[in-house]
């Protein structure tokens, strides 16, 4: 092949060209053009993304990409966020760290999502990578502030430490003091998930003061309002800021301090935090509102009038996270004030209440869809919906790429017609041709899946709960959705047939989660035996699946493609179905 290519470029030229290609998909495509491109590409890939840490082994990754500087790993399935994956399932990062520590010391960035990270892992990172710069832990758990202290003490070039949504064992706030006095390279710090009442404010203040490149600072709830001014005073260059608790005795000096220091932050574009907000202190942020592009008020327990006032000060808002206290009226104001809005998330203030506690309905979502021409991503919790509203939303906003609707009560029908919401969601997939992510809710029959299989050709992730009538529903999705990568299903009457009839499809996807449905143990075994490139994991806390009849449904099933084979770090309640499973279990 090489001899025939008389006009091939020297490797260095190709490498230079490839350096402009950042996206993993493009890099993967490049690597498959021919063998020499594969070789050149693998030596110059600097960022590796592994969507499922069990799809490939650390050794395989290191062997193929000998010089990467940045790795991103994802562990547990998405439904772990809602306690559907029992603790101990897996997703341990230590084996990866251990292999990488041995392979080369020049790793700079580690980004993890839904993985179990121990203090041991953090200590190994601190010890092994001399030029370590970025640590982003998203929805991770298993470590304590001791591990953080090790990172702080050793990583002299650390630029980013982001612990978004992690569960950290808060042993002591003094870990912050482990950053040496000579350390000044911090650019981004997100400790919003930490608890610890005895926050070390002076250490935090000193850290902020000496890190003059700090652009992102997200504090935790323990930082009181009156301390924020002291911290912000030293960081007028901040672009993203998350407050701690936003409540205090209403004192004019605290207020004016805060307002003054905030107005001197001329670069501020993103605000978050706002735990325990009292409305009296909100106007302090009005001076910065006109420049804000991102606002996270999802912890702010303030009512609609205050939210409306706040939102109307933010004409450049692109991203808003808010509680349903905003109500339909607030969303109407949002629709008229924020024409640049791209992403909206409305969370339920009382998710377990039987009755609605606020006046937030489908009307709010309709208003925003009609009024915000750039809206493309929505996560919306509400208590009622209609096909009419969904069709209106779909027609007015065909540019949706992410549409996640959660009608709180399962199987809720169209409140106007009492019909299923099939037609409404059908309209969403029909009109929104670039839809990549969809979450369904409400009363839905197999028909909605027929629409999805027919129209949702770019859909990559689908979440389904309490929907469908029969296997035909699942079959429509598996056979029709060409771009499907992740499918997660719970509490649907889907059984063996659709799964077995579309077994090969599963190899083209990252993963399938299916729980509290009707997939039998026998089908799981068959899949495991016939599909060696799939890991078929049965998760069942009731005990070994073969202690029940074969046609009994398994509790939870997680299927993912893997070239690493079955894993060996499973807890006692997880069984991998493979060629030998028939022999091992009986």
């Amino acid at each position: 092949m090489h001899k025939k290519m008389a006009f091939s470029f020297p490797d260095e030229v190709l490498e230079h060209v490839f350096s402009f290609i950042q996206s993993d998909k493009d890099r993967n495509a490049v690597s498959m053009v021919c063998k020499s491109w594969y070789e050149i590409e693998r030596w110059c890939r600097r960022k590796v993304f592994v969507g499922n840490c069990y799809a490939v082994s650390p050794r395989m990754v290191i062997r193929r990409f000998p010089e990467f500087r940045s790795i991103e790993l994802k562990g547990k399935p998405h439904f772990a966020d809602f306690n559907l994956v029992p603790d101990g399932w897996g997703g341990y990062v230590f084996p990866w760290i251990a292999e990488m520590a041995g392979a080369y010391p020049w790793l700079e960035e580690i980004r993890l999502k839904r993985m179990v990270v121990t203090d041991e892992s953090l200590e190994l990172i601190a010890k092994s990578f001399k030029n370590f710069k970025v640590l982003v832990l998203s929805s991770c758990e298993g470590f304590s502030t001791d591990g953080l202290a090790a990172i702080a003490a050793s990583c002299k070039n650390l630029k980013e430490l982001d612990l978004r949504d992690c569960e950290v064992d808060d042993l002591s706030a003094h870990w912050l003091s482990h950053f040496p006095e000579t350390y000044t390279s911090l650019v981004s710090l997100n400790i919003s998930c930490l608890g610890s009442d005895e926050a070390s404010f002076s250490a935090l203040e000193r850290l902020v003061r000496r890190c003059t490149n700090l652009k992102t600072l997200r504090l935790n709830r323990a930082v009181p309002l009156d301390k924020i001014a002291n911290i912000l005073r030293h960081a007028p260059q901040l672009v993203e800021f998350g407050t701690g608790t936003y409540t205090a005795d209403v004192r004019p000096d605290v207020y004016s301090d805060l307002a003054g220091v905030l107005s001197s932050c001329k670069e501020l574009k993103s605000l978050s935090g706002f735990w325990d907000v009292i409305p009296d202190y909100l106007p302090a942020i009005y001076p910065v509102c006109s420049k804000l592009t991102s606002l996270n008020l999802s912890y702010a327990t303030i009512q609609s009038p205050d939210l409306i006032k706040l939102v109307s000060h933010c004409p450049n808002l692109q991203r808003l996270l808010v509680l349903d206290y905003i109500e339909d009226s607030g969303l109407e104001v949002l629709a008229s004030s924020c024409k640049d809005l791209q992403e909206l998330r409305v969370f339920p203030s009382d998710p377990f209440g039987a009755e609605p506690n606020v006046s937030l309905t489908e009307q709010g979502l309709v208003a925003v869809s009609l009024g915000c021409p750039k809206l493309q991503s929505v996560l919306y919790f509400c208590r009622r919906m209609s096909n009419e509203a969904l069709v209106t939303i779909a027609r007015s906003r065909p540019n949706f790429t992410r549409f996640r609707l959660c009608i709180i009560e399962p199987k809720t029908a169209d409140y106007l017609t009492l019909e299923p919401l099939d037609v409404g969601f059908g309209a969403i997939v029909q009109y929104c041709k670039d839809l990549r992510r969809l979450s369904l809710s409400g009363l839905l029959t197999d028909r909605v899946f027929e629409y999805i299989g027919t129209y949702a050709k770019k859909l990559e992730m689908l979440s389904v709960a309490f929907a469908g009538d029969s296997d035909l529903g699942l079959h429509h999705v598996l056979s029709g959705c060409e771009s499907l990568r992740k499918l997660e299903i719970r509490d649907c009457p889907f059984g063996d047939k659709a799964l077995l009839a579309n077994a090969a499809k599963l190899e083209t996807m990252r993963s399938l989660w299916i729980s509290s449905c009707a997939v039998s143990f026998a089908a799981c075994k068959l899949l495991g035996q016939k599909m060696p490139r799939l890991n078929v994991e049965v998760i069942d806390e009731r005990g070994p699946p073969d202690s029940r009849p074969e046609n009994c449904p398994v509790d939870k099933l997680y299927i993912y493609r893997s070239i690493a084979g079955p894993r060996f770090d499973m807890p006692p309640f997880v069984w991998t179905m493979d060629e030998d499973s028939g022999l091992r279990l009986s």
């Binding site: 490939v56 809602f82 603790d87 889907f494 009994c552």
Partner: protein, 253 residues
Amino acid sequence: MELQLGLALPPPPLIPIETFDLNSYGNYETREALGTNALSWPLLKLGPADNDINNIHHHNSSSSSSSSGGGAGCKKRSFDEAPFFDEKRNVPKTLHLLLWTNQPNDEDDDPSNVLHENSSSAIFKNDGEGLVGWPPVKTWRKKVHHQIPNGGAENNRLPAVENGIGGRASKSTYVKVKMEGVPIARKIDLSVHHSFEGLTNTLMRMFGISDGNRKSFKLTYQDREGDWLLAEDVPWRTFIRSLKCLKLIRSRG
């Protein structure tokens, strides 16, 4: 197919479903009309019928690796490690491990029947108190929301919170459980338990302790003050209200 609200929707079109003909597999592009064979369950009983499946499976993997004229998918196999998967590869989207038909379910393999038969896998796991993981709100969001005062605007001052994560006022109350000697902690939902016996049963199952070994373990808990106490020494109500986390220890003597 334009979706018009108000008009009767046409019946679902007959979706051409690829059939899996055991005798002539390898014909990925085939779109035959539905076969009229009844659902064949023999595939699940690994008997002589299995031979065909094995042959066809091998035929599948060998045909794709030896085909020369194909696209990128073929080239991948000549590399040492299988690189990351290419979604656009020409694989049969529906490898059938059984024949699909549109026939109504037979009674004995109706999934909803099977669902009802096994109440342990029924939807409502919390004894009717609520669904696990529904609504899909992350745990730390659930906890925050229940700090909300009922009055609303007047009630501006919220109680100071013990730790950043907030109190455990939400309906699903998960606490950490550790067992002595086991590095990995588990979590247990307290709201589904109403007695020490029920709680202990669940814990025994969770950690795989057989009935015989039960006696050698004691349940202890850490209360809000940080003290470790024996669970059975206090009434259930006191236990529930004051506990922060649990630990199973081996009882000596």
